[in-house]
Symmetry: C2
Subunit: 376 residues, 2 copies
């Protein structure tokens, strides 16, 4: 019987232990999952992102389907469940969320709640035996991040943080450029993300957001710099600005400018702002060339312009559904038992830097991060 | 006789004191200078900028002509004088420069020397009774700048610092946008200027350059931010980077990242680097829109892209000869006795901020500039 269970588990993981000679050698043979096999996802939190981006994205997924909805507003959950073909028995409210443990239709829980609730629902999902896919920032504090990682490890479940740009073709091309010889190695990244935040949301509530624009949108600049440079910042400088006359910014800052210094000598100069019109861009510069991304952190319309030895090229790649890509990546990694990108440790690294950014802004001094020796 | 001299002086300044009734009222009547009248310029320093840009620019000037050359290399001076039609008697070496006092062909002295020599030659030119047009940065120290301003004031001569972008159509349009209502007022400027500096020039000699990339190219980011925002920074933060293995950067830093905070709450996040490929750009962002300039600080190829309420427009204006424009602006201001742009006080403001940038980089702390109340 134990052998049968092992087989079943291995099959689910995309690996079959064959009998006979193969069994004697104990060589796992990879067999891809059935083409039609889709993992069931429970979406926790039915806000704007879920309604406008995530639910539509599942229609484009090949390995993932919406299996359950979790919401505090029954009417909204019922209406969305009907539209997306989710039987009503797979609707949960927050109090009853832990019953998802007994719902075999659910393989993955996607936490799309305000930042301050990420840790709680990640831990509850892991305890319910589900893999967890959690929005970024991972949590308001690095302590919570560590708890999330530990809970998933204890439960033997996977944890992935939703960094959609790690799957986006223009960003993947930018990383190739950064690692390659054309521009001679990136030494400077400048990145800016500004947008108008509406009043009265959790985004301008420090307790719920874990900060202001830094964890919400500054994280894109930060994560991009880390991704392009392939190393961890050793030191952080920052300054924040809070206007006196804008009621949105009583609790959180409007703006943060921060500088990351990396062990190699590379640096990143970043800005994020909650009170300005949309700007979303980065430029990476090396000794022999540079590349700029317009609409860099948006869902659509990304454009990569490279200049190498004076020759300017615009690279136009497929504008994919970034949400479908990251969702299917996680499902496929589970189905095929392969590593997945941006696990909890990646989310923790960003949150650790964000804590240092706020400390630097408070103190007016550079804050070290203990990565004097090149990390990773 | 004294009356005749007054007339002649007034005529040179574009103003005629008429006799009879007008004289009784002592009302100056503006009479434009003769259309063909050109002021004579002495170019002090025959380096790359003079040879490649300035001498050709004079061919496009309507109010300015090359009247004299000052150089330490007689063969070069003679060859250029022959090519540009300057009689040999108007060639000076540095020791003999003060004889320009007795050269009536010279109205303006253009100082195109290494930064550390700007003060000396500005003062000598003023003492020789000439108007002075001086390259930026004005001088390595604010003390020298004050001396230059005082010397020109005492001599009753004009002093203009060569900020060519104050005459460039795309920049003038950007200033109009920044002051206007379309983008709702600029609150954030991000500006980057990077280029590879060749080894062994005065640009990487701190004593001759007055610093590294900050006074030489960072000044463009700084001046642009001040021009767009129309106020003076109250506080400066900065960090510099010097690589261990690049012989160009034994004396000066390779890179400086600096942040300017203005009394209104606006900020500028800037980078300059002497060891990276060419990037020359700024973005200004307001609550309702933004504008980006590509090739922002270059001689040619500038492009302004504005985005207002989601609508993106590329503004293509004339690509003028920026050097001819600033040179003729100064000549015309003298001929017509009108104020000129970017006088010595403008150069002094930038140098004062540059001193604060280096102090901030050295100390790792924000440095105040005494502009807590909105300046200008």
């Amino acid at each position: 019987m134990s052998n049968a269970v092992t087989r079943r588990e291995a099959l689910a993981a995309g690996t079959v232990l064959l009998g006979g000679a193969a069994a004697a050698q104990r060589t796992p043979v990879h067999v891809p999952p059935p083409p039609g096999k889709k993992l069931g996802w429970a979406l926790v939190g039915l806000g704007k992102l879920t309604i406008e981006e995530l639910l539509p994205a599942f229609a484009k997924c090949e390995k993932s389907r919406v299996a359950a909805l979790v919401s505090g507003v029954p009417e909204k959950a019922k209406a969305l469940a009907a539209r997306y073909g989710v039987p009503e028995k797979h609707i949960y409210d927050y109090d009853g969320f832990d019953r998802v443990k007994d719902d075999p239709a659910v393989d993955v829980v996607y936490v799309v709640l305000p930042n301050s609730l990420h840790a709680e629902y990640t831990v509850r999902a892991a305890k319910a035996g589900k893999h967890v896919f959690c929005e970024k920032p991972m949590a308001p504090t690095s302590k919570e991040c560590r708890g999330m990682i530990a809970a998933c490890r204890e439960a033997g479940r996977r944890l992935m943080i939703a960094y959609r740009l790690h799957h986006e073709p223009h960003h993947l091309r930018a990383v190739d450029l950064a690692k390659g010889k054309d521009i001679g190695g990136v030494q400077l990244v400048v990145a800016d993300l500004t947008q108008q935040v509406p009043p009265g949301t959790w985004r301008t509530n420090r307790a719920m957001g874990g900060g202001g624009p830094v964890p919400d949108i500054g994280i894109y600049c930060l994560n991009e710099a880390r991704m392009l440079l392939g190393e961890e910042p050793a030191e952080v400088r920052a300054t924040t600005f809070k206007p006196k006359d804008d009621p949105r910014f009583g609790d959180v800052e409007q703006r943060c400018l921060f500088t990351l210094s990396f062990p190699s000598g590379a640096q990143a100069n970043c800005s994020c702002d909650y009170g300005l019109d949309d700007v979303s861009q980065f430029t990476m510069i090396g000794p022999d060339g540079s590349a700029r991304m317009d609409n860099a952190f948006r869902y659509r319309g990304l454009k990569l312009t490279t200049t190498v030895r004076g020759i300017r090229r615009v690279t136009e790649l497929a504008q994919i559904d970034q949400f479908a890509a990251e969702i299917d990546h996680f499902s496929l990694s589970i189905l095929e038992n392969k590593p997945h990108k941006t696990p909890g440790e990646e989310g923790l690294r960003d949150v650790t830097v964000i804590e240092a950014i706020y400390e630097a802004a408070r103190s007016g001094k550079p804050v070290g991060l203990g990565h004097k020796e090149a990390a990773r």
